[in-house]
Symmetry: C2
Subunit: 329 residues, 2 copies
DNA sequence: GGGCACGATTAGATCGTTCAAAGTTTCTGG
DNA sequence: CCAGAAACTTTGAACGATCTAATCGTGCCC
């Protein structure tokens, strides 16, 4: 095969010094037009590519971003991460960064992995997904001044790091408004136990929209862990009352799927809307709130690159999801 | 923060030379017991981690494996990749490798990306998913002697590279046998147009099992592109005949989901079984053939590591999927 | 006791790039 | 025409590891 093409090969070919080639790549404006052109030609003629390892050793930057890939807990929500990862890889690529994966069973192990990745690969930044109250990971990273962005708001008020999130409340508000416009007035909400940031947020959109429209929400909310069976149970329970709801807004597609099964046996039709627009929703015709994952990923990369360019951003981005209407509402 | 800990720091701390520290890490047997212990202590006391970039520059190996993350075509099948990726990351990690992601719109772009990744990051190996007839990617890699493994058999007989795959025929055979045992005898198959390796393989399992059991398969096979609507149409067509099938084996969960909808309106109950055991299947209670993705990923890493250790393997691994029974069969 | 082999350890060069500083050419104005 | 500045280019060192080859003890045999 062809010899390894280094910066020296290019330099010789273009009859300039190594440093001039380096300047063409990293600071083109200081190189004379004609020299630059000659070097560029040599570069493409030889198919030269800067060796990252060598560059990294000198500059201390690896142009590598790490993301955790989770073990697909429920199975349904896995595809959210999947799409997010794809978007991240694509945008990072365009910005000249590469995405590296890692796994971890728990927070301690994840922090150990940070240490490892930073030490061995000199990672430039991390993208965290799914933050929770009092997250030890963000604290660890912040303390060491490692650049990172979270996809998901920090739910502790004091954390001041850049994040990107999808406005869950806006999503459920949109759903609720749509249902109200469609003539529904007894609209229930199936959510998770109070205390999870994401869950509370999604509930809030429903609650405020209902009360703003002058409707009482008492007795219209059920909470349970995430799951299909749980969703079914919750809606059956609601339907057993005197004045059963005619529509349900759900905090997840899993709950909505369960609700859908309960709705099938109901006396009167019940509209059901889920959250996350997972493939399952598309498959069974469930209306759902769709998160702009590609956009979210792109904004994460945006924030990281400005952060890595030295400007201490602590910007926050809140994206609005869209309601995808199918057969169920 | 703490200074950077290099091999020199460790050497000074343990009162030996750099090279001895390097030997403790890479060739422990040539270092005297007592010296080794002293160095090990210094390493853990200082929290030393070998800098990959420096190591890579000298050895030419990056301990990095690249995998493509696809844009989740159908949406339903996306989760297969998701689970595979997780397994891959986990096993690679254990073997001392890291997984890097990339995307590509088409084969040409993918090959350009190989070139880029190899040149810039000195990637050690690639894992390809979803091979097809006359795949230009494997040819390109083989020509340059870049180590790679495919998840999916090469469908051109002459390609002699290591691969891992799931025995689709064994999966559909198992399903067919199960249905025969359950008393069915008119069992149909919904598949993709002849010519796709994966599709033909899955069809074969059904066909051979049926004929081996003495059943005629004439008129019991329908083919279409993958999709829910396509599956529904295909089964409706089958049910319109004089002797409609009492069960359908499908080449994908998408087709099976469509079939399920057609089956709902049928005069007599029709058993339906899908393929891939996607979250959708679990959600709607569809029986399906489950691929051992974590195991497949692990075997991919196995093959790659032996390949990277210099032993020219061209081993092939065929894993047997399992049938997950739910409500629909 | 001298020579020799063998195991353990060390010194110096090297991988491909960028930084810092010094060198060279070209331009400008008096 | 020359000094001085500006624009451009080159040289040598450094990043942190491993490779090659050399050095230092130590034990063994004649």
């Amino acid at each position: 095969m062809a010899e390894k093409v280094t910066i020296a090969t290019v330099a010789r070919h273009a009859q300039v010094s190594r440093q001039t080639v380096s300047n063409v790549l990293n600071a083109p404006h200081i190189v004379r037009e004609e020299t630059r052109r000659r070097v560029q030609e040599a570069i493409s003629a030889l198919g030269y590519r800067a060796n990252q390892a060598a560059r990294q050793m000198r500059t201390g930057r690896s142009r590598l971003i790490a993301v955790r890939i989770e073990p697909t807990r429920d199975g349904i929500n896995g595809s959210v991460l999947d799409r997010f990862l794809h978007g991240l890889t694509e945008t990072a690529d365009a910005a000249g960064y590469r995405v590296m994966l890692y796994t971890a069973r728990d927070d301690d192990q994840e922090i150990a992995t940070y240490d490892d990745l930073l030490g061995a690969y000199d990672l430039d930044a991390f993208v965290l997904t799914g933050t929770k109250h009092g997250d030890p990971r963000t604290a660890w990273l912040a303390e060491r001044e490692v650049p990172f962005v979270t996809f998901g708001r920090p739910w502790d008020a004091l954390d001041g790091h850049p994040w990107v999130d999808v406005d869950g409340a806006a999503g459920t508000a949109q759903v609720t408004r749509h249902l109200l416009d469609g003539g529904h007035d007894r609209i229930a909400f199936l959510g998770w136990p109070t205390g999870s940031g994401v869950g509370d947020d999604r509930c809030a959109g429903w609650r405020t929209t209902m009360t703003a429209a002058g409707h009482d929400v008492a007795g219209l909310r059920r909470e349970s862990e995430d799951g299909i069976a749980e969703g079914e149970r919750a809606l059956r329970d609601l339907l057993a009352h005197d004045a059963p709801p005619t529509a349900v807004v759900c905090a997840s597609d899993s709950l909505a799927l369960g609700a859908l099964q309960a709705a099938r046996d109901a006396a009167a039709p019940v509209a059901v809307v889920g959250f996350d627009d997972t493939p399952v929703a598309a498959a069974v015709g469930l209306s759902s709130v769709s998160q702009p994952l590609a956009a979210a990923a792109a904004r994460c990369v945006d924030l990281l690159t400005t952060l890595l360019d030295g400007q201490p951003t602590d910007q926050q981005v809140l994206l609005t999801p869209t309601l995808v209407l199918r057969h169920t509402a």
